[in-house]
């Protein structure tokens, strides 16, 4: 998208968000949409890692839950003002992600995924067992103050307010990523993803860009965690569990990563389905596990991939069979 188009699209999207927020009167519906938005941001983080690095994280809930915990603990200790707590959580987790990224992105293929699962679960176990610090399995409250960044908190917590805030964050994250990835950082990471060896042979130092993408993906997910913690005022180990990582991954797979907004689409579909399932949602883990399997086997490009193919004009000639190297970097 051209820059001028991008700005118009952003403004339009923000306006639509505001319109929906004030237009809808049903608190439940607004709340549902808000939650969907949080998951959309979460999924965007996971999707970014897959799209730019060709890597799959099975433990991104680490960043989602940890940001809530960091804020909750800092607020409980009354150590810093809430605004600083938010900053520390998001930036701190991004920095942390970068540091461990430097180590783990070097691990090839699926082993990387295994590590992310292990790390994520370790966070879950730590939170579940540290009764003193985190309230253990029961979780803890997040004591938000009466104003946040100058805005009265109770205004933000109104269904409409929460939706506008969350939606705006989503739109701005998409905008930010779109701009960032159009530039050199995007090309460099894509080249590294497609062919790491050749990337070095054209002069790219491949470790730093990949670690940076991992860090960014963690940061985006932690942002979603902040919003969720604000919305519910509560954080528990469930926010760190692999089933949550699995749900996010499912959204990414269902939505597809061909375009930047694919994972967000996946989140929307997930919530729609969950709403439709209603009472059966008791076994949602099994249902979504099955959905993941079905989509990955029969529709690997996801919904956004299918949509894009539908909207694109058909080629004049079929693409010639390409010999040479495998495409995605995700070797075993």
């Amino acid at each position: 998208m051209k820059t001028s188009h991008l700005s118009i699209a952003t403004v339009a999207a923000l306006a639509i968000g505001a319109a929906v927020a004030f237009g809808l009167s049903s608190g439940t519906l607004l709340s549902l949409l808000t939650q969907a938005t949080h998951y959309a941001i979460f999924a965007l983080g996971v999707g970014l890692l897959l799209r730019q690095n060709g890597m799959v994280s099975f433990g991104h809930a680490l960043y989602f839950g940890s940001s809530g915990y960091i804020i909750a603990i800092l607020l409980q200790l009354k150590a810093v003002p809430a605004e600083a707590a938010v900053g520390i959580a998001v930036l701190g987790l991004t920095a942390f992600a970068f540091v461990i990224g430097l180590v783990i992105v070097r691990v090839p293929g699926v082993a990387f995924g295994m590590l992310t699962l292990a790390i994520g679960q370790m966070a879950f176990l730590t939170a579940s067992r540290s009764r003193g610090l985190t309230g253990g399995a029961d979780g803890m409250n997040v004591d938000w103050p009466s104003t946040l960044f100058g805005v009265p908190t109770e205004l933000l917590l109104k269904p409409a307010g929460m939706l506008i805030l969350s939606w705006s964050v989503l739109v701005l994250v998409l905008l930010g990523l779109g701009v960032l990835l159009r530039g050199r950082f995007g090309s460099v990471t894509e080249a590294t993803r497609d062919n790491e060896e050749r990337a070095r042979f054209i002069g790219i130092r491949t470790l730093l860009p990949r670690a940076a993408v991992y860090a960014l993906s963690g940061g985006i997910t932690s942002l979603a965690g902040v919003l969720a913690a604000l919305n519910t005022g509560f954080i528990s180990p469930e926010g760190l569990h692999w089933s949550l990582s699995g749900v996010a991954l499912m959204m990414v797979v269902v939505g597809g990563t061909r375009v930047l907004w694919g994972p967000a689409l996946g989140a929307a579909v997930y919530f729609l389905a969950k709403d439709v399932l209603g009472d059966h949602a008791q076994h949602w883990m099994a249902i979504f596990g099955t959905a993941l399997i079905v989509v990955i086997v029969f529709a690997p490009e996801g919904l956004s991939g299918a949509l894009c193919r539908l909207l694109r004009t058909p080629r004049r000639q079929p693409p010639a069979p390409a010999a040479g190297n495998p495409s995605a970097r995700v070797a075993h």
């Binding site: 699926v110 292990a118 370790m122 995605a328």
Partner: protein, 282 residues
């Protein structure tokens, strides 16, 4: 101190049983079975149910057998059909399977912890270095050693083992030589799942059964397999023992944060050797 080291050995033995299954499946099918911990858990729960009606020894035979059957079906209708797809696809399928199995276990057996008693034949203590050591745990170590030695011997000395080793290195050529690689895969995956189930039954008397069993062990088994080098059986054995010992020492010296030790071990090894100890037999 001795007790902790001993328990480290016991846990290491358990990991050997479990992780050898994971390594075998990877070696032959190039699939990292994310559901392996869930299979371990399922094996334990099936064992529990069988034990309610009969006894431990029957469960020890039945649960792995059921898991072996499951493994054969998984290979035939899962891995085989997806073998030409991106390796990641299959991994995501196993992850989906993990979610389904977790839910299944809770649906059938509930969320509360269940316990299984030690079989009568082994419910005594042996005096070792002045400590009363449960005989059952000594048996576990023996089982772990038996699995390690048995698998190594089987791979090196038997015909089937030879086929497995060659199929792991080069499936196409092996198939061209007339080895029925599909049947071999089904066998190996079945064996791998059986091992996971066996580990579950073996663990049941001394670890309580809960839906979080799989997550407790999956971290460690992944660390073992990555640190040992993906696909290397010997590497997995060594790493399993190392991890068992590290955990044991951790409970002595750093009781609160011992759960983080596998993580730290893994990071330490990966900084030094990104492909793990033994490297992968690619």
């Amino acid at each position: 101190m001795f007790i902790h080291l001993f328990n480290g050995l016991v846990y290491g033995a358990l990991l050997i049983i479990m992780c050898s299954g994971l390594a075998l499946i990877y070696g032959l099918r190039r699939v990292v079975n994310f559901a392996h911990g869930s299979l371990y858990m399922l094996g334990a729960y099936i064992g529990y149910t069988v034990m309610l009606k009969t006894n431990f020894w029957v469960a020890l035979a039945v649960a792995p057998a059921v898991m072996a059957l499951f493994g054969v079906l998984l290979d035939r209708y899962g891995f085989r059909l997806l073998q030409n797809r991106d390796p990641l696809t299959v991994v995501l399928v196993t992850f989906g399977l993990l979610l389904v199995l977790e839910d299944f276990v809770v649906a059938v057996w509930g969320k509360t912890n269940l316990s299984v008693s030690t079989p009568a034949a082994l419910a005594f203590s042996v005096d070792m270095f002045g400590h009363a050591v449960p005989a059952y745990r000594i048996a576990v170590i023996f089982v772990g050693a038996a699995v390690a030695l048995g698998l190594t011997a089987w791979l090196r000395l038997s015909r089937a083992g030879l086929f497995v080793r060659s199929a792991s290195t080069d499936p196409v050529t092996t198939a061209m030589q007339g080895v029925n690689t599909d049947r071999l895969s089904a066998f190996v995956v079945g064996l791998g799942c059986a091992l996971a189930g066996l580990a579950g039954v073996v663990a049941a008397p001394f670890l309580s059964l809960s839906p979080s069993m799989s997550s407790d062990v999956i971290i460690d088994s992944f660390v073992v397999v990555v640190v040992g080098g993906l696909g290397s059986l010997a590497g997995a054995f060594i790493a399993a023992m190392v991890l068992g010992m590290v955990q044991a020492l951790g409970t002595v010296w750093l009781p609160g944060s011992s759960v983080l030790l596998p993580f730290l071990l893994m990071i330490a090894v990966l900084i030094w050797k990104p492909a793990g100890f033994a490297g992968s037999r690619t």
